[in-house]
Amino acid sequence: MANITMDSPVTGVAPATFRPGTSDKEIEAAALKAIKRRKQLVLFWQLVILFGALGLWQVASDQAWIDPFFYASPSAVAERLYDWAVNGTTEGSLWYNLGVTMEEALIGFFTGSIAGVVVGIGLGRNQFLSDIFSVYIKAINSIPRVVLAPIFIMIMGLGLASKVALAFVMVFFVVFANAFQGVREADRDMIANARILGASDWQVTRAVVVPSAMSWIFASLHVSFGFAIIGAIVGEFVGARFGIGQLISIAKGTFDAAGMFAAIVLVMVVTLAAEWIMTAIENRLAKWRPQQSLDTH
């Protein structure tokens, strides 16, 4: 689900026809070369766009086309990041603040997704329970999660617990909904097959239902780490002593645009890294799925 690759349109290039004298080896070598070239081309354009955008921002800021006070500039953001990394922030070491946010997000992410998977599969496997609870889940799900932040902070204080709770509810519902749907989509014949082969209810759940819900669950895990970060940061906005959200909040209070952008860059890097790790895990688990064959023209 995560690998959306775009095919380049065919642009008047004649399709490769069979030429006598081309061995399999040569064709393979040519194909590998074509794949490599295409990858390089993609990377090249990605870099062009990145540096183009940053350069434009920098120039616009330097030439005062945009107000550097509000919009900062890439160099100012980089300087601020460097300064934070070396000298620390007003709220202590940058790494400590990042660590606080990560801790909140990770605990929320893991507890939320485990709970989401367990409850989703449990209700998905039990028609009666799901009939009873579906209405409550719909009701709770209709609450925009961020409005819970002040309540959690009032109840659980400024520390870790309130942010984890917010990250948890952000993650839980997404994962729950997908796990539930994944269970519902499990192939009936496959379940019947397992039962006739001798599987108990528990074995059916473990050997058939969970693996077939896995791609649904992974689809939700990809977005839900981002949600956990949102939960942690929104929690920090509303009230906290440390964390990236708190840094942003302070930067806002002092009209420090570079500081805000620097914090955003940090969050971006962390979320992308998490996404990358998740994709790697998924690819390992899903080695049974058909690979996209590399088709080069």
Binding site: I196, L197, G198, M214, A286, R289
Partner: protein, 279 residues
């Protein structure tokens, strides 16, 4: 040709493996409407007997098999296996699905090992048996392939190994080969007959294909358009062992097909007429 006559359905079978006695199966929709899929259905399969079931589409063939597996319960009447009533899913039953029901996330050998492992046998034992069965269906070289890497015929052979490894005394097959091309299908017929002759299982084989039914079976049941009842039963007195690829040129075989088709055609026409009226 006129020498071919249906036999009486209630003809006593001495030692039946499967009995459906006046079985009715109704489906009740959530809105309370009922649909009768089987009504007053009686069928007897002897031990080691190969029975084929033909009937128009949607008449209730799959429903019949589900009752024998214990996946579903009859609304009236009785289903018995090996002389005892069916209570839940019976470990002596093996089921071959029309659709692919292999586990796509397991490789070939793990798919075949699933049955013994579910039944609590040791991993080493299951692996030994699985390798043995995969050798028999000619897939020893593909132990670590995943289902999507195999052709349709190979997947079907894995499915057969998966079913046979449990050594079912009763084998139920729901149009198992309908998705295969003609050549592969003939190969699968030969393999099935070979395995069946070795195991002496009792088989119920559901199919749309009358020639397939006549080529394989000892007895062919013709069902009526839904709700299904038994219309007639034919005993196929073709000698065994049969060579499926050649039997189709046998005059007796052709006579059987012609006679039974006459019988079946009326039901197929009724079924189509109803479907087009409903539309």
């Amino acid at each position: 040709m006129s020498s071919i006559q249906p036999i009486r359905n209630d003809l006593a079978v001495a030692d039946p493996a499967i009995e459906l006695i006046n079985v009715t199966r109704r489906f009740v929709s959530p809105t309370g409407k009922t649909l009768t899929a089987l009504s007053d259905f009686t069928m007897t399969v002897g031990r080691g007997e190969f029975v084929a079931v033909v009937g128009p589409t949607g008449c209730g063939k799959s429903t019949t098999l589900n009752l024998v597996t214990g996946l579903a319960k009859p609304s009236a009447g009785e289903v018995r296996l090996m002389g005892g009533p069916v209570k839940g899913i019976d470990p002596r039953v093996g089921f071959s699905f029309q659709k692919d029901a292999l586990f796509p996330w397991k490789n070939v050998i793990d798919n075949v090992m699933a049955g013994p492992l579910f039944r609590g046998r040791s991993k080493a034992e299951a692996e030994r048996a699985a390798k043995d069965w995969l050798a028999r269906v000619g897939l020893s070289k593909f132990l670590h392939h995943y289902p999507h890497q195999l052709s349709g015929g190979m997947r079907k052979r894995v499915a057969l190994a998966q079913t046979f490894i449990n050594e079912p005394e009763i084998l139920l097959m729901d149009e198992p080969f309908s998705a295969l091309d003609v050549q592969t299908r003939t190969v699968m017929h030969e393999e099935l007959l070979k395995l069946w002759a070795e195991r002496q299982a009792s088989v119920v084989f559901v199919t749309h294909d009358l020639e397939e039914a006549v080529a394989l079976a000892d007895k062919v049941y013709v069902l009526t358009a839904g709700p299904a009842t038994v219309k007639s039963v034919y005993r196929i007195e073709l000698p065994r062992p049969r060579v499926v690829s050649e039997i189709r040129y046998d005059q007796n075989f052709i006579d059987y097909c012609k006679t039974i088709w006459e019988d079946l055609r009326q039901e197929v026409e009724t079924s189509y007429r109803r479907a087009s009226q409903a539309a």
